[in-house]
């Protein structure tokens, strides 16, 4: 894991050195940019509160258990092991929740097992869809997201399907 320890410092260093080489007054400019970043994070807060509250309530209600049961026939069709269904359901909704389930799967079945690998591919190739939508549209002040959600959900379905297919094909 040495490579990914390098990325952040190297990227920072390159930007700063490039800035100096182009005679940019780097510190003043940095502060200007950071001030914008500060304003932006305040602008995101209302959307974040709205989203995290409704997602938190949704998770606590046990609704995901029902969704998992409903997803069972679908998962049987594509050959997804039932143990991975909760991860597939939770992944787009909650990043931290998905990681907790993922760790659990790795511990119970082993990271190099069939189930462990499917879970890994799923975890590695998808994002917390709802969070991304809320933060980006919230920050830009967009209320009507039009076709964003269906397209994102299509991408999430593709990940579930592909993770099973890829693990079957490649391992």
């Amino acid at each position: 894991m040495t490579l990914d320890n390098m990325i952040i410092p190297v990227v920072m260093c390159s930007i700063i050195l490039y800035g100096i080489s182009q005679k940019v007054d780097i510190f003043t400019v940095f502060l200007e940019g950071a001030k914008d970043g500060f304003k932006t994070s305040i602008a995101v807060l209302p959307a974040l509160v709205a989203l995290m509250t409704c997602v938190g309530m949704f998770k606590a209600s046990g609704a995901l258990d029902y969704v998992t049961v409903l997803a069972e026939p679908f998962s049987r069709v594509i050959g997804l092991p039932p143990e991975v269904v909760p991860l597939a359901v939770l992944r787009p909704v909650s990043g931290s929740g998905a990681i907790a389930i993922y760790k659990d799967i790795l511990e119970s079945f082993g990271p190099d097992s069939f189930i462990g690998r499917i879970a890994s591919v799923m975890e590695g190739s998808s994002e917390t869809t709802f969070y991304t939508i809320a933060v980006y549209f919230g920050a830009a002040g967009i209320a009507k997201t039009r076709h964003t959600l269906p397209a994102s959900v299509a991408a999430d379905f593709a990940v579930v399907f592909m993770s099973v297919l890829m693990v079957r094909m490649l391992f």
Binding site: V11, G37, Y66, G124
Partner: protein, 193 residues
Amino acid sequence: MKWIFSGLVISAVFFGIISGRMGAVSNAALSSCGEAVGLMITLMGSMCLWSGLMKIADTARLTEKISRMFSPLIGVLFEGMHYKSAAAKAITLNMSANLLGLGNAATPLGIAAMREMEKRNPNPGVATNNMAMFVVINTASLQLIPTTTAILRQAAGSERPLDIMPAVWISSIVSLASGVVVAKLLSKAGKGS
């Protein structure tokens, strides 16, 4: 947004009643709104850091160079966007940060991209096709090294934590492609740009 929000709250109440977990739902409502503030404070640091660094890169015209490299891709995915525009620059940097696995940097850059696009939006408050496309691309994560996953696999005693990489790449690309295709199709079916 209003459908996502109301859908989640209403189903939370509905399922909370069915499974007798209204107490938990009520606690979750109170605690998660506080957690959102905590998350924002955590985000704020990286937001300031990366916005500052981006401003340096921008002033030094580095972002314009990177943006030019990505311009063929930007042209295909986004309608009528020039690589020199502020939005294209932010989009390119967001994609680069995602590829490198710098999630902390990708978020502020992505937000900057959205705000630039909103500035030129003929119907403020309504997502344009380009905005939808951009968010879809971000929800279908694309990264060269799935760092977090690999670290968790290693911690769980995997012999080769990174052997899933080709599978992750192919799944991400297929998922991204599905998202992009659905977005393109629906954008035509919808009210137009």
